[in-house]
């Protein structure tokens, strides 16, 4: 071969960033990590617009229409996207981890690269959602009074508050998916089942506690008092717990085939 390759071989390791390489590895197939969610998003939006158009066309009475549009603010249409991000979080870790180790990446570098990827994607999709929310408001609900990105759960803050809320929500779902995948990578199906078993028991126990202490109004009140900015801040708690737990679990995981 050429002399350059020979000298390259002889040269000591270049300190290229493995973490950056892991980010690129996650994004190498852009079609499935960015393209598919955008297509799903576009499809859901289109279906919703069609439904809003049907409502607008079939309800003629003005007060009935106002009633219907009042109901639209409870739209959960965008929820699919958040779940899809959780799936990406699961697949991104469980499927890419064995390959990254095959490429001689340490678990630490893999995890940091993966976390960086999730932050990038959360910011990206947070921005997309914010943009669509702004358009939704500006066009009076796509000209039909529909609500998908300004649904009641997302509050009624200004655009950057929306952006933070969307981004924080995406982050949570990515890292929650990461924990599930880390548990699966380390303890396989048994571990995953035990994890969901414990999680279910915990959530039911909390619901039980809230019921017997008659504190559901306080729970509701808590959401109202904190508002969107408070929720963003609080959501970081489970997100960070997930991120740290994910690393703790994956640190001792072995890819099996």
């Amino acid at each position: 071969m050429t002399t350059t390759t020979v000298t390259e071989l002889a040269r000591p390791s270049r300190p290229t960033s493995r973490i950056g390489s892991v980010v690129r590895l996650h994004l190498v197939n852009k079609a499935s990590i960015i393209g598919t969610p955008l297509i799903i998003l576009g499809f859901i939006l289109l279906v919703n617009v069609a439904i809003w158009a049907i409502i607008a066309a079939s309800v003629t009475d003005a007060s009935d229409l106002a009633d219907a549009q009042e109901g639209l603010q409870w739209s959960g249409a965008s929820f699919y996207l958040f779940i899809y991000m959780m799936v990406l979080g699961i697949l991104g870790v469980s499927a890419t981890f064995p390959l990254a180790l095959g490429f001689s990446v340490t678990r630490r570098d893999f995890y940091l690269g993966t976390a960086a990827t999730w932050v990038l994607l959360s910011v990206f999709f947070g921005a997309v959602f914010t943009l669509l929310a702004v358009v939704e408001t500006a066009t009076g609900g796509w000209g039909l009074g529909g609500r998908m990105f300004t649904a009641v759960y997302f509050g009624d803050g200004v655009w950057y508050q929306r952006f933070l809320l969307f981004t924080a929500a995406f982050l949570f779902f990515f890292f929650f998916g990461t924990v599930i995948a880390a548990i699966y990578s380390r303890w396989r199906v048994t571990g995953t089942l035990v994890f969901f078993g414990i999680l279910t028991v915990l959530l039911v126990a909390l619901a039980f506690l809230a019921t017997v202490t008659r504190s559901w109004p306080e729970v509701g009140n808590w959401f109202v008092v904190n508002g969107a900015p408070g929720l963003v801040a609080w959501s970081l708690v489970p997100t960070v717990i997930s991120a740290v737990a994910g690393y703790a679990v994956l640190r001792r995981a072995t890819p099996r085939g």
């Binding site: 071969m1 390759t5 020979v6 390259e8 071989l9 390791s13 270049r14 290229t16 493995r18 390489s21 690129r24 590895l25 190498v28 197939n29 079609a31 499935s32 697949l91 499927a95 890419t96 064995p98 390959l99 180790l101 095959g102 490429f103 001689s104 990446v105 340490t106 678990r107 630490r108 570098d109 640190r251 001792r252 072995t254 890819p255 085939g257």
Partner: protein, 295 residues
């Protein structure tokens, strides 16, 4: 010479099974080593331990003098695409070859392109849908083109047809001559690779049972063929690894012979033939008809 890999007292247990049992050996830099053994003997586990993909129960491992586990500095000099390597579901070979250079700094894209052509690998088909041999080819191409100072090939022949096997064999030797590096090749198809190997490590049931230079290993036994009586009188007093009789003829595999003994054999009208590495390992270990069957 310096050591690329030093393993000492290495043990790996999974519950009650011991996959690797007190393994101790050294791999010198810039050699081609064969890691041979039956299916399930512990080859893959051993390589996963050496490359920090798995954690040892006890014992020590050094690659280029350092601990491999979570050691980015030393792992980046290693390439190990295992036979059962998992790829993301939506991955096509082109994604693997696009991303591999980000991790292997000596990556030779030209060589990769040539190998893709040689193996006629469809780079735009999902890896899930590739045949066994095509999937092997993906790993083989990464292993060759990465030019990692320590490269593992895990059952590279699995599913490859005769032409593809010859291509692998030729390209490996060609590239190894130009870019010397340490290569560890695991397989249960011993005869296919025997001429490549400079050193042989045989693992059985988790234990290292042979760790020897392949030339000296080959010279360590000879097959004596002739009439039954002549063979029998000749082999008396020798270590007999194997004896076959067909009609009035006999063929015996025996230990190393001195030049004087060789001359004596020839005078007695006996024919001396070298023993293939595979036969030798099978005889020496009493290992298994299974090895022969699977070959």
């Amino acid at each position: 010479m310096t050591a690329a890999v030093e393993v000492s007292g290495l043990t790996k247990r999974f519950g009650s099974t011991t996959a690797v049992n007190e393994a101790t050996f050294t791999v010198e830099e810039n050699t081609i080593h064969g890691l041979l053994g039956r299916n399930g003997a512990g080859k893959t586990t051993l390589m996963q331990l050496i490359t920090g993909q798995d954690f040892a129960t006890s014992g020590s491992i050094r690659i280029f003098g350092e601990h491999p586990v979570e050691n980015s500095g030393v792992l980046r000099r290693v390439c190990f695409i295992k036979e059962s390597q998992k790829y993301p579901d939506d991955f096509k070979p082109k994604h693997v070859f696009e991303s591999a250079p980000w991790f292997f700094e000596n990556w030779d894209a030209e060589l990769a392109a040539r190998l893709i052509e040689d193996f006629r690998l469809p780079v735009n088909r999902r890896i899930k849908k590739l045949s066994r041999g095509q999937t092997s080819a993906v790993g083989v191409i990464v292993g060759l083109a990465s030019r990692a100072p320590l490269t593992f090939f895990d059952e590279p022949y699995l599913g490859l047809d005769a032409v593809a096997r010859q291509i692998f064999y030729d390209r490996l030797l060609e590239d190894y001559a130009e870019h010397p590096r340490t290569i560890i090749l695991s397989t249960h198809l011993i005869d296919e690779v025997s001429s490549l190997l400079e050193h042989v490590i045989v693992i059985d049931d988790g234990r290292i049972i042979i760790d020897q230079d392949s030339d000296s290993l080959r010279g360590s036994a000879t097959t004596v063929v002739g009439t039954g009586t002549a063979v029998e009188s000749f082999i008396a007093g020798h270590e007999v690894l194997h004896l076959d009789r067909i009609g009035g003829l006999a063929s015996a595999t025996i230990g190393q012979l001195t030049p004087a003994e060789r001359a004596a054999a020839t005078t007695a009208g006996l024919e001396l033939t070298p023993v293939s590495l595979q036969q030798l390992i099978v005889r020496r270990t009493g290992l298994a008809t299974e090895l022969e069957k699977s070959a």
